[in-house]
């Protein structure tokens, strides 16, 4: 039954209607694979049999009654930062060990309503802070294509689960590239929607003005299907929007006559590996052959993006993480002389090194006397970066680049050097600062079979454009997400 774990949503939906297998059997096939390989991949932190049993049963009932919803019975993994009622949700952190939220976040809830079946909770960098999933408070996750390498991060568990066939779809969150970069490193499709497209209610916040929930899938169409099901205004999130999101209508329309911009700052980014550059060159050729016009664009403030990002994100995180004080939930070191000591003990024990570093960076950046020089300045840079994109999109319909300058790197190779880890996001975090939609699609492999990702960014609220270009690339290149082979 191994091919049941290599299907796309469209394929599975069709076969479920033909009664080739039931939703319960589809789940079982995934659980069997997980049992066989997850001790090596370690994509999951926890499993949710109580959910998948009920949901698969309900899905089979819906299918019998003629429900044609594409997500009915589709096995899904959920990143550990997305709250699901009654399911231990820890944001990859020891400080939340044992925390079972009494509520389900809007994105997951809408997918449950659409019939998706939850298999379990996937690993991630603690509070989504990292680019390799090595900062998990539990264990690292391994890249299914090369177990001694990282899957990227922070949504590395979700990317690895979809890449290995353990889940058909997975939810991730992207604050600086945390969906697109692991998608690239694991050879799957990963999409970060426009800021505000998907409700953040139930997403344990890292940086509220940058965080966005998005899907991991093995095809562009699947990404569109999942996005379609979870997008839209939510009364529980004041930053969510009801802008039109017609992502499936023109998905197959191709790129003929479209203008695709190649930003030179991204194309020539420092640290770009030749194998990645060659893959992007090939993708550019594919697009040209498919009838797109390739033009040079410029994003002149790119160099300042990383610095601005590493002020704004830690500043927001220092405030967002203040609630983890051991008083109401999670780890609690109350054996202390006073409340301040109890806070310090709880947080020192509960938070990992990278989280503590960012809380301190952010606290400093917001401090009286430094606010103007750091936070305010970073916000001004953010405005300039948005303007860069606005100007670029006056000349082109979408922007294409590599998602990550490198292929997956060996586990442990960057953990001693936070700055080199921060550089992993150099091509993706601009999209977060500007609030743009972006998708990473598989774009070939290195000689030693390490996946490469192509990033497509579109103007705000134009997920349809990013997906259409991504789909056109699949067609033009013939490159598709493949499930990593396991013995």
């Amino acid at each position: 039954m191994s091919d049941l774990t290599e299907l796309t949503i469209r394929e599975a939906a069709k076969l479920l209607r033909l009664h080739s297998f039931s939703a319960a059997e589809l789940v079982t096939a995934h659980i069997n694979l997980i049992e066989r390989i997850d001790s090596r991949v370690k994509a999951f932190l926890r499993f949710t049999p109580e959910l998948w049993e009920k949901q698969a049963e309900a899905a089979d009932a819906r299918i019998s009654s003629g429900d044609m919803g594409p997500l009915v019975g589709i096995p899904m993994a959920v990143k550990d930062v997305l709250c699901v009622r009654g399911v231990e949700t820890t944001a990859g952190s020891q400080i939340l060990r044992g925390f079972r939220p009494p509520y389900t976040g809007t994105a997951a809830s809408r997918l449950f309503d659409a019939g998706a079946v939850m298999l379990g909770v996937t690993n991630c960098d603690e509070f989504a802070m990292g680019s390799s999933t090595e900062n998990s408070g539990y264990h690292p996750t391994h890249n299914p294509w090369s177990l001694d390498r990282v899957p990227g991060g922070s949504s590395g568990g979700s990317a690895a689960a979809v890449a290995s066939g353990e889940a058909m779809i997975a939810l991730g969150t992207d604050t600086g590239g945390s969906i697109r970069q692991p998608a690239a490193l694991c050879g799957v499709v990963g999409m970060k929607p426009t800021y505000g497209r998907v409700s953040r209610y139930g997403l344990i916040a890292f940086a509220s003005s940058l965080d966005q929930i998005g899907p991991f899938t093995r095809s562009v169409e699947d990404a569109a299907i999942v996005l379609d099901a979870m997008a839209g205004h939510d009364p529980l999130d004041a930053t969510s929007s009801n802008r039109p999101n017609d992502v499936l209508r023109d998905l197959e329309a191709g790129v003929k006559g479209m203008k695709l911009g190649v930003p030179r700052e991204y194309y020539d980014v420092e640290g770009m590996e030749p194998v990645v550059k060659a893959a992007i060159d090939k993708a550019i050729k594919n697009f040209r052959d498919a009838g797109a016009e390739i033009i040079d664009v410029t994003l002149p403030h790119t160099d300042y993006g990383l610095a601005a990002y590493y002020i704004i994100a830690p500043a927001e995180c220092s405030s967002n993480l203040a609630r983890f004080d051991g008083v109401r939930y999670g780890m609690s070191e109350v054996d202390a002389q006073n409340v301040t000591e109890a806070y310090m003990r709880t947080r020192r024990r509960g938070f990992g090194t990278e989280v503590r570093r960012r809380v301190m960076l952010g606290t400093y950046a917001l401090s009286s006397g430094y606010y103007d020089a750091y936070y305010l300045k970073a916000q001004k840079v953010r405005t300039l970066i948005k303007r860069d994109f606005d100007l670029a999109f006056e000349k082109c319909d979408a922007i294409i680049s590599a998602t990550s300058p490198t292929v997956a790197f060996p586990i442990g190779s960057k953990t001693q050097d936070p700055l080199s880890m921060y550089l992993c996001d150099v091509l993706t975090l601009g999209g977060n600062l500007a609030g743009l939609p972006g998708i990473s699609v598989p774009c070939g492999m290195s000689e030693d079979l390490l996946p490469i990702g192509l990033q497509i960014m579109a103007p705000q609220w134009r997920e349809d454009v990013a997906l259409r270009v991504g789909r056109a690339y699949e067609v033009a290149s013939g490159v598709k997400a493949e499930v990593a082979p396991f013995v």
Binding site: V81, L82, C83, T89, A91, L96, F99, P101, P102, Y103, G105, R200, Y201, G202, L203, I204, A205, A207, S208, S209, P235, L236, D237, A238, T239, A315, E316, S318, S319, L321, A322, R323, F324, D325, V327, R328, Y329, V339, Y343, T363, L366, S367, S368, Y371, Y375
Partner: protein, 469 residues
């Protein structure tokens, strides 16, 4: 108590709970004082991970109405900010408040013809409450957190340092309360914690511009406590300065039991709240049309009404002040006059009898009562009883008067028997009077009132005098 030689400078920060059904950023009921701990809470006001705030429109509306009534400017753009500090009564580790772009700025409240400038009115959320087991905080073995108040909306109304005495500070707070109740923005009941006044006080030499070092007072639960706390603080600061010392900038609590202020925390090390814009809430754009709509819907404000009570009804200013201070009383006054009663007697009854007891009759009943008294049909004493009974039973004064046989008897031939009976029963008093002791008349009248309460006092006393002479 002397502060001679010093000018008292007071600014007021007042926190008011706007009248809303739900909390500032979630759907929880605002609840009541005395609700069981942690009964009005949800994942949002508990600050659970992944939850988000959503702005309560009713709170924004109450704040805008207040701002309009206080003659404030309402900028088109406003936003919420996070005030960061960690304490167990603050579930998120930050309070959502407003920092550099408050809902409104630069207004004033007219107080006896003088303007008390209002610096700003903004919206924020309340914190929870800590209850410590044991007498003293540092010795408490356990502390309990009640988050019913966490997330309850608050308007913060801040004045410039324009108040010059404890009297003025109290009058300002009372006037503010009246205003808030008149426009329906808040119940503003101090005892229920819906209005919390925090005065800051400093002294300086008269004629100097520079402000002295101030202290801020907290835990004030009534207008009386506000007055007393400020008076105490003025005396304390005067003594400190007169003895050559310096006032320490600090927050001081008011102890109702000891009737004094005490040091709570020193402001030597200013806390750094690391304010920054709340990313979970988009900035608000207040539509000019909304403001106009609210402005048009504002009722007549107490200041304007006071003036009208004088000009339209000819009330003395002192009466107008008392009646306009309470919207219910002012409404009662105008309706009773409209029902045909004379304005001044109506005012007298409202000030003398309705306001002190808080028992409010219908305007028609009050008008009827006033007319009965004016016509001499019943005595004032009887009228008081009729008023109470009318409020309690809802029956008309005329009905009650008839039932009790209260109607005054003014007919001399009827009264003559009663007067003669009293004279016969009190021969000594009659003799005393006739011997020139005029005060004996009082005793006879008292006896007459006892025997014949319905007797018209004026007719009866004339009759008595005639029979005695």
């Amino acid at each position: 108590m002397s502060s001679a030689g010093w000018e008292v400078v007071i600014g007021m920060e007042v926190h008011v709970q706007p009248r809303t059904r739900s909390k500032m950023f979630c759907g929880c009921a605002v609840g009541q004082l005395g609700d069981p701990p942690n009964s009005n809470v949800c994942e949002i006001c508990l600050g659970m991970p992944g939850t988000l705030p959503v702005i309560n429109k009713a709170a924004v509306e109450a704040c805008l109405k207040t701002a309009l009534a206080l003659n404030c400017e309402i900028p088109r753009h406003t936003k919420f900010d996070r005030k960061n500090y960690m304490y167990p009564d603050l579930p998120k580790g930050y309070q959502i408040s407003q920092y550099d772009l408050p809902m409104s700025v630069s207004g004033y409240l007219e107080l006896d013809g003088r303007r008390v400038r209002v610096r700003r009115v903004h919206l924020e959320e309340d914190t929870g409450k800590l209850i410590h087991a044991g007498d003293k905080l540092h010795k408490a073995s356990e502390s309990f957190v009640d988050l019913n108040r966490a997330g309850v909306p608050l308007m913060e109304i801040v004045t410039e340092p324009d108040l010059r005495s404890a009297d003025e500070a109290r009058d300002y707070a009372v006037a503010l309360r009246t205003l808030l109740r008149t426009i329906g923005a808040s119940e503003a009941e101090m005892e229920k914690g819906q209005l919390r006044a925090e005065p800051n006080i400093s002294l300086r030499r008269p004629g100097t511009e520079e402000l002295g070092v101030k202290t801020e007072l907290k835990n004030i639960n009534s207008f009386r406590a506000l007055h007393r706390a400020i008076s105490f603080e003025v005396t304390r600061q005067t003594e400190v300065l007169e003895s050559g010392g310096t006032v320490v900038q600090e927050t001081r609590g008011w102890s109702e039991a000891e009737q004094r202020t005490f040091s709570q925390r020193s402001k030597e090390f200013a806390e750094d709240y690391r304010y920054f814009p709340e990313p979970d809430l988009p900035p608000l754009e207040i539509e000019a049309s909304w403001i106009e709509e609210l402005r048009r819907a504002l009722p007549e404000l107490p200041g304007a009404r006071r003036g009208r009570l004088v000009s339209q009804y000819g009330l003395p200013a002192a009466d107008a002040v008392l009646i306009a201070a309470d919207r219910d009383l002012a409404d009662l006054f105008e309706a009773a006059v409209a029902a045909g009663a004379e304005p001044k007697p109506v005012a007298n009854w409202i000030i003398g009898d309705v306001a002190p007891t808080g028992k409010i009759p219908t305007p028609e009943h009050l008008a009827e009562l006033v007319k009965l008294v004016t016509a001499g049909s019943i005595t004032r004493d009887q009228a008081r009883e009729v008023l109470l009974e009318s409020v309690e039973t809802g029956r008309s004064p005329a009905h009650i008067v008839a039932e009790h046989g209260y109607a005054q008897v003014s007919d001399e031939s009827t009264l003559q028997d009663e007067v003669e009976a009293v004279m016969q029963a009190n021969p000594r008093a009659v003799e005393d009077y006739r011997a020139g002791k005029k005060q004996a008349l009082g005793a006879l009248m008292a006896e007459l009132r006892k025997r014949a309460p319905q007797a018209n006092p004026k007719v009866a006393s004339e009759l008595l005098l005639r029979l005695l002479d």
